[in-house]
């Protein structure tokens, strides 16, 4: 190791606090990025493995609309040219008290068609290969035992079941025992993982269980090399389509694209704060050594050697920080994966994962990112170090003079960046990368204006501080400006951190406020009835007709609306199709963005017109009067849009169709949930109890007042934003560590100056006062600047990022508490960060501090 390198490493080791904080900053940034990446990857992988395992070796699939595919069409498909094999499949969801917290997928198959598709099932029919570790199961038992089920060995073990026992599942509000006739234990790890949430049944049993007799979810196909034949296309049942296997999986996975990207962008924020921290620490470290670097340059050390030496330090910090961050990221990821998958379950699709998968590529990516950002952040100070002119090195005022000259230029550059960012945000695109790039440029631009604002605010504060704290107040205020090369980056970091906290706070507050307003308007019925669902935000299954009649027949019920919700997977996305039999009292639930109740509802009730939600219209560029095509049992039908309404229940989009229209095009009489309107002035709670009493034994039905449903919806919302809240907290911690290190370094560097003051009679208490007044002033400046910046951030998040991600219009709400929160956060953060240096400085003896004189 060269002496220069050795000297620089020892410099790092001689400032262990500074080194530790720098490493911690990188580590936290990397940890957040890695954790989010792992959580997202694990969710996606869990979904894909599961979907691929269930799809097996199918090359193509025939899929239908809301009511699936008619079973009778299988025979014709099987006979078509190029079809080597065809297998009908029924899919449904269930839960089980034996497997708490887990959503089960009921997979109904025809064992005689299965061989070419899912060989891991390993039945004894002699078809296909047997990859089952246990040697398969009896097909005879499978089809003759009523509701026979086969589980993966791992799932059976988790439920504490053995062949011969029964797995109790909850489907359609009823607990149904399923005899477990066998377990399968595929040797292949991926297949085993894919089967963890599957309950395999004979197709007829599955249809009976999920309440879809005569209907199948899809037909899996193996086509010969030349692909789909014209003959096959001709026999496709109406409203179905043929697509390559995996298309549906990709479409479903695409639902969470915006969700993933938003989380990833938030995680990068933590990394950017980490960058700020490194920039701060390295800038300080260079400033600290200016004179020394000048001496080295005079001795003949080249600029390149100085540059490499300083960057070498950042490599050490980056490597240690990245290593620590990757390890911490795995730990943090284990915590976050639960939150991420729960949100996906609540909002998008059912997902069960065994835990965090840790692909080495994600860890490597995190480590490289950490190292690269550290080196990048250290580049400006390293260049500054390399440009130190030996003859100027001793004169600190020259450096500060340069900094002050830079202030207006930085502000101008900041304004220019903010303008470029704004221009990017104004581009009418739905591309989220462009939106986030615009947002980051605006934030960076605003951060660059903080030095100018700092000078202005510190000067404005001087008279006040002089009045309240005398000469110490004057000194504290003037020092902020005099040492701008060091105070400005620290203030900028704190401003960004607090503004992000404030901005996200406003965004969440606005979202919640909008949701509450929307729920208050939407939940018009007094009581809602549905079956328990594995997805918190989504009613599923169908209510028995007899029960509907019993409940509607309650003497206090004066009206009812019924809902039938189905997810329809289109080629280019997923929509929720709701068949609505709407009581006129429920019309007020709709708040129209385009169209109005007076014209929309008559068209909705009397013609094939539909109402679409704002996210759907936004994503697909749909307008009033446009036609929206949906697959139905009668073929693909275009429905005229009679209104676009605000909706915050599903970001993939909702199509509301009158029950009359739905029934004309679908072979599905089910009702998913029921809204009941009661007589004026009745005790709703007592009616709820009455209605619950009318539910037959053995059937589990959720009967809720609209207030209870509102509370439940808000609980789901709050849960959804838990990940954001965690990220917001972590980002603030990273920034706080950065500010702590910057302020500590700043104050510790002043030890000689403070020593002189101590020698001139300043008491330790006055040193405390001086240091904390200065850091407090910096905190106050940061807080004041963070308010407008946080507001801008929220504005962009609400009106650009959220709109483009999810298609929602949110109403911005900024309360005075946000301003106070920003000021308090910045002030407390800065003062806390000043406590240690103040304590250190007040204890140092003047003689020690003056040793360098």
């Amino acid at each position: 190791m060269t002496l220069l390198r050795r000297a620089s490493l020892r410099h790092l080791l001689r400032h262990p606090g500074q080194l530790a904080l720098s490493i911690l900053g990188v580590a936290l940034g990397v940890a957040v990025v890695v954790a989010i990446d792992l959580a997202i990857q694990s969710s996606r992988e869990g979904f894909t493995v599961s979907a691929e395992t269930v799809a097996g070796r199918a090359t193509h699939q025939i899929v239908g609309g809301a009511d699936g595919v008619a079973e009778r069409s299988v025979a014709a498909v099987r006979r078509a040219a190029n079809v080597e094999a065809a297998a009908p499949v029924v899919e449904g969801l269930a839960s089980s008290p034996d497997l708490p917290g887990m959503a089960l997928r009921v997979l109904g198959v025809d064992p005689f068609s299965e061989g070419p598709f899912r060989p891991y099932l390993g039945g004894d029919d002699g078809q296909g290969e047997d990859s089952s570790g246990e040697g398969g199961f009896s097909v005879a038992d499978f089809i003759t035992t009523p509701r026979a089920a086969v589980l993966s060995a791992a799932t059976a073990e988790r439920a504490g079941l053995r062949p011969g026992d029964s797995l109790v599942v909850m489907v359609g509000g009823r607990l149904v025992p399923l005899p477990v006739i066998a377990t399968v234990d595929p040797t292949d790890e991926l297949t085993r993982a894919g089967l963890r949430d599957v309950v395999l049944m004979d197709i007829a049993s599955a249809q009976g269980l999920v309440g879809r007799p005569g209907q199948i979810s899809r037909i899996d196909l193996r086509l010969a090399g030349s692909g789909p034949s014209a003959e096959l296309s001709a026999v496709l049942p109406p409203g179905t389509r043929l697509e390559p296997a995996g298309t549906r999986t990709d479409t479903l996975a695409g639902m969470i694209g915006a969700f993933d990207l938003n989380l990833t962008a938030l995680s990068f924020l933590a990394m950017i704060f980490g960058m700020f921290l490194i920039y701060n620490a390295q800038t300080f470290s260079v400033v600290q050594r200016r004179e020394l670097l000048g001496g080295l340059r005079a001795l003949g050390v080249t600029r390149g050697e100085v540059l490499r030496t300083v960057l070498g330090e950042s490599v050490v910090i980056g490597t240690l920080g990245a290593a620590l961050g990757v390890a911490a990221g795995v730990v943090l990821g284990r915590g976050l994966v639960g939150l991420v998958t729960r949100t996906i379950n609540d909002l998008y699709f059912v997902l069960t994962i065994d835990g965090l998968s840790v692909p080495p590529a994600v860890l490597a990516k995190g480590a490289v990112l950490g190292l690269a950002t550290t080196v990048l952040a250290a580049l400006p100070p390293a260049l500054e170090a390399a440009s130190v002119q030996p003859r100027m090195a001793r004169i600190r005022s020259i450096k500060e003079g340069q900094t002050r000259r830079m202030v207006p230029r930085a502000a101008a550059a900041g304004a220019a960046l903010a303008l470029v960012g704004t221009a990017l945000l104004l581009i009418p695109t739905r591309n989220l990368i462009v939106s986030f790039a615009g947002l980051f440029l605006v934030l960076l631009g605003m951060a660059l204006t903080t030095p100018l604002a700092t000078v202005v605010l510190a000067r404005a504060a001087t008279p006040l501080l002089t009045r309240t704290s005398g000469i110490l107040g004057t000194m504290a205020a003037r020092d902020v400006v005099a040492a701008l090369s060091r105070t400005a980056p620290a203030i900028a970091a704190l401003v960004v951190a607090v503004s992000v906290t404030v901005g996200l706070g406003i965004m969440i507050q606005s979202f919640r406020g909008t949701l509450i307003d929307w729920l208050d308007g939407t939940l018009q019925a007094d009581v809602y009835v549905s079956l328990p669902s594995v997805q918190a935000a989504r009613a599923a299954g169908t209510l028995p007709t007899a029960l509907l009649d019993t409940l509607v027949g309650h003497p206090r019920v004066v009206g009812r609306s019924t809902y039938r919700g189905n997810e329809v997977v289109l080629i280019d996305g997923v929509v929720r199709l709701v068949a609505l039999d709407l009581d006129p009292r429920g019309e007020a639930a709709f708040d129209f963005l385009e169209g109005d109740a007076a014209s929309a509802f008559p068209a909705f009730r009397t013609s094939d017109a539909v109402l679409v939600s704002e996210p759907l219209a936004y994503r697909r560029g749909l307008e009033l009067g446009d036609s929206f095509s949906l697959p139905t049992s009668s073929g693909t039908v275009g429905f005229r849009i009679a209104g676009v309404f605000y909706d915050y229940a599903a970001d993939q989009g909702v199509v509301m169709m009158s029950r009359r229209t739905y029934d004309r095009y679908h072979d599905d009489g089910g009702v998913t949930s029921l809204g009941l309107f009661l007589e004026e002035g009745v005790d709703v709670e007592s009616v709820v109890r009455d209605l619950e009493a009318r539910v037959p034994d053995g059937l589990v039905v959720t009967v809720r007042t609209n207030q209870a449903l509102r509370r439940g919806s808000l609980e789901v919302f709050d849960r959804t934003f838990q990940v954001t809240a965690v990220l917001r907290l972590l980002a603030f911690v990273v920034a706080f560590v950065g500010v702590l290190s910057a302020l500590m370094a700043l104050e510790l560097e002043r030890s000689r100056e403070l020593g002189v003051l101590r020698a001139n009679g300043l008491t330790p208490g006055q040193v405390w006062q001086l240091v904390t007044t200065q850091t407090g002033l910096m905190g106050a400046i940061s807080g004041i600047l963070a308010v407008p910046m946080g507001w801008v951030l929220a504005l962009v998040m609400i009106h650009v990022v959220n709109k483009r991600s999810f298609g929602w219009t949110l109403h911005m709400e900024v309360g005075p508490d946000v301003v106070l929160q920003a000021l308090g956060l910045a002030l407390v953060g800065a003062i806390v960060a000043g406590v240690y240096p103040a304590w250190r400085m007040s204890r140092v003896s003047p003689a020690e501090a003056l040793r360098g004189e």
Binding site: T2, L3, A7, R10, G295, L299, R394
Partner: protein, 232 residues
Amino acid sequence: MPAAPAPAAVELVGLSKSYREGDRAHRILDGVDLRVLAGETVAVLGPSGSGKSTLLNLVSGIDRPDGGSVVVDGVDLTSLSERDRTLFRRRSIGFVFQFFNLLPTLTVLENLLLPLELNGAVGSSEQARARGLLEAVALADRADAFPDRLSGGEQQRIAVARALVHEPALVLADEPTGNLDQETGDLVTDLLERLVRDAGGTLIVVTHSKDLASRMDRVLRVDHGHLREDPQ
């Protein structure tokens, strides 16, 4: 046959340098000519701000003149790039600063080895040379100490040794006793003069000290941008 003239270690011709102060240019050196012979020792006197340090910066190639030429050890520094001037400086010039500028994170011995390492690998002969110089400045027993454990005088003795360790053609000293008491300053001056003369090197010292100046072969004075011989 007449004796060949002694080679010039430093030759300045028509050297001028200005700095901007706000909107105005402040001329520091104005057409300075100087020829310092190899092996000669020269003191440069002058009031603060007169341009003494600027002169050293120009001679060492740290700074570039606005006009004129600087030739050191036969090399015209004004024709070199910044990088080449730096490489020339590390090979051919030794520096002693007023504030020592030892690397606090290198030991005394490592500080001495630094110029040698910058000029190539450090072998046993370089180690021996560094240790020999430590003995010459009477600090052999402090080889493994870090500079902050040494007094100001000791640090400056190490700085003198460091300036000579790579046997430069020219040693430049910028107020080497300016930060030391009289007695310590005298000791450092003795060392500096003796070691430079023993090595047959050339020395230019910028100083306020008339005592130090009186020990040099020649004394020059910077006066209103010009360099004049001081009659002492």
